[in-house]
């Protein structure tokens, strides 16, 4: 079921390679963070639809972000970044407190304050490390090309957790099993779009066939560049990247790590053949080393 012939590199049809004879078109998310207003409708809609338990109500001190990161009970996470930008013509400024006062006579290293917001989610990787390493087959590739955990099979080994290069999937402490975004597998089956995309008021979260989304994203980034937003860039859109491209990709306005995303993630199983090879050699050297010790010691007992 989970056997795939490729461990890394471009893979146009992950669902077919996972054994679905007649897969549906691969779908995903394009999250355009340039229009995100940080309303968290996606977080709420996701929690509601998927009946995700409450996971802490603490204030974090991280701007308006109190969910802090993706996890077992946060499948959409809106990041908030407050920045001073040196060049005021960088992008349309949001009027924030005191910004008018700073405009004229601010020191050269003090620009205006800008606020970046981005709704993060499981990337539904083309080469999903979580799925590759899962020993029970609980994680599987759906006919839509997405990656889903089956709660009734997961035994809580926790291997998927450190395997994910994006820090997405996590075990619930009270439960032990691993949980993450399903890209609303139940809704897809009923011909509906995922709850977060449905709820997003600005179309920052766009759902659709991945090929279409990639085209739309390329147009959008060009448009932003024309408008002078030079820092606009796509993230996770490239099928030649370390995970074979993400099923959920982004338009960002700064470097990925500013949003807590890895700049150049690689699916760990890319190196698995090398690891097994070295493990084989190491196993042989263990046997050889002990054999050598016995050979040097000789057969006779009581040599000393």
């Amino acid at each position: 079921m989970t056997d795939r012939n490729l461990l890394s590199g471009p893979e146009p049809e992950p669902a077919r390679d996972a054994g679905h004879p007649e897969p549906s078109e691969r779908v995903g998310f394009f999250t355009d963070t340039s229009v995100c207003i940080g309303c968290k409708a996606c977080e709420v809609a996701c929690k509601e639809w998927n009946a995700i338990p409450e996971d802490g109500m603490a204030l974090s001190g991280m701007s308006y972000d109190n969910t802090q990161g993706l996890g077992a009970s946060t499948w959409r996470h809106v990041a908030f970044i407050e920045q001073r930008v040196p060049a005021p013509e960088g992008r349309t400024e949001l009027p924030l407190a005191n910004s008018a006062a700073q405009a004229a006579d601010a020191a050269p290293d003090q620009g205006d304050l800008r606020w970046l917001m981005s709704s993060d989610v499981c990337k539904h990787c083309t080469h999903a490390a979580c799925l590759d390493v899962c020993p029970t087959g609980s994680l599987f590739r759906t006919e839509f090309g997405t990656v889903v955990v089956q709660e009734d099979i997961c035994n809580g080994c926790g291997y998927c957790v450190p395997a994910c290069p994006y820090g997405v999937i996590e075990q619930r402490p009270d439960d032990g099993r691993a949980f993450k975004c399903t890209l609303c597998y139940d809704r897809l089956g009923a011909g509906q779009e995922p709850a977060c995309a449905k709820a997003c008021p600005t179309e920052s979260i766009q759902f659709g066939p991945l090929d279409e989304l990639r085209e739309r994203a390329a147009l959008r980034v060009d448009q932003l560049h024309e408008q002078g937003v030079e820092e606009a860039r796509l993230y996770g859109h490239d099928p030649a990247d370390g995970v074979g491209g993400d099923g959920a990709f982004f338009l960002l306005l700064d470097r990925p790590e500013v949003y807590g995303l890895p700049p150049d993630p690689v699916v760990t199983t890319r190196d698995l053949p090398a690891m097994w090879k070295h493990a084989g050699t190491a196993a042989l050297s263990l046997a050889g080393g002990i054999a050598l010790a016995f050979a040097l010691a000789g057969r006779t007992k009581g040599a000393r």
Binding site: C134, T136, C157, R177
Partner: protein, 306 residues
């Protein structure tokens, strides 16, 4: 949220690439595994696996007491290690789901299958040796355990390295050698403790070989890891790995120089070797956790292109 740090070695004067993070939060999730269970499993699996090779060697080389004692040791170690594994599951009752699929892309799946072959073999070898019954089955089981043992000792390195954890994945080429060397050190330590002095020459030689192998593998891993090697040298991991080196060296030296004549020296050396192996496994484990918890170890190597 921007930190600039110095690199080590010849590039000491070159400032580290500027690195940014989201409020200092980790990029990846560290494993939720308990050190006692999983680092303990690495140690016990190594002790059992390499011990089975020792047992077969002792049997062939006419050292029956060592052979029997090492078979018992391997059975005990593999039983404890399986218990540690099951204990660490979020749903221990679903342990059998490990054998639901056979999945070469999952080192944990391969390990479960290996363990389900090795465990019974180690068990049969020990029971036959102790009771003296079914000697043919016992001999076959001894051989099977000796063939699977090295794989048990080596695969745990792949289990750790096949993750996004920088201190483990970055050393994926070196970690298997480090783990098998540490396993050999542990098993030779056990052999030194259980074997009579006149039978312990192979254990003393193996201890020396393992110690040399372990320090070469550690050096190579740290060189490969670059700035991530800090996680092997600092904090809890640093303390553990330094203790590991000291204990292993002292154990091997004591065993090699005095263990052939003096039984107390052999036992002392053996205990130090076992302790060294424990420290190695817990140290590597702690380095992995530390590297997962600090975003710079994920971001900087990816920015530098490995």
């Amino acid at each position: 949220m921007t930190r600039t740090r110095k690199r080590r070695g010849e590039q000491l004067m070159v400032p580290r690439a500027e690195f940014t993070s989201y409020y200092g939060r980790p990029v990846i999730h560290a494993p939720s595994w308990a050190a006692r269970d999983i680092a303990g499993y690495f140690f016990l699996g190594g002790l059992a696996g390499a011990g089975s090779v020792f047992a077969a060697g002792a049997q062939l080389g006419g050292r029956p007491r060592t052979a029997t004692a090492m078979k018992v040791s391997s059975l005990a170690a593999v039983s404890l290690s399986a218990a540690a594994l099951v204990h660490d599951l979020g749903r221990p009752g679903r342990f059998v789901n490990m054998l639901r699929v056979f999945k070469p892309t999952s080192p944990m799946s391969m390990g479960s299958w290996l363990l389900s072959g090795y465990g019974p073999a180690a068990g049969a070898a020990a029971v036959s040796a102790v009771t003296g019954r079914l000697p043919r089955t016992g001999a076959a089981a001894t051989t099977a355990a000796a063939l699977l043992g090295p794989a048990i000792a080596a695969y745990t390195a792949v289990l750790a390295a096949d993750t996004a954890v920088p201190a483990w994945h970055g050393a994926h080429r070196e970690l298997p050698y480090l783990f098998t060397a540490s396993a050999t050190a542990a098993a030779s330590g056990m052999a030194l403790i259980v074997a009579p002095t006149r039978e312990n020459t192979p254990a003393r030689l193996a201890a020396v070989l393992a110690t040399a192998g372990e320090s070469v593998a550690t050096e190579a891993a740290e060189r490969r890891l670059g700035m991530v090697a800090e996680t092997w040298r600092e904090g809890r991991a640093g303390t553990l790995l330094r203790s590991a080196r000291a204990l292993t060296l002292a154990g091997a030296a004591t065993a090699a120089l005095a263990g052939g004549r003096s039984r107390p020296a052999a036992v002392l050396g053996g205990l130090a070797l076992l302790g060294g192996s424990v420290c190695t496994r817990f140290g590597v484990f702690a380095a992995g956790i530390a590297s997962a918890q600090d975003p710079q170890y994920t971001v900087v190597p990816q920015r530098e292109g490995e």
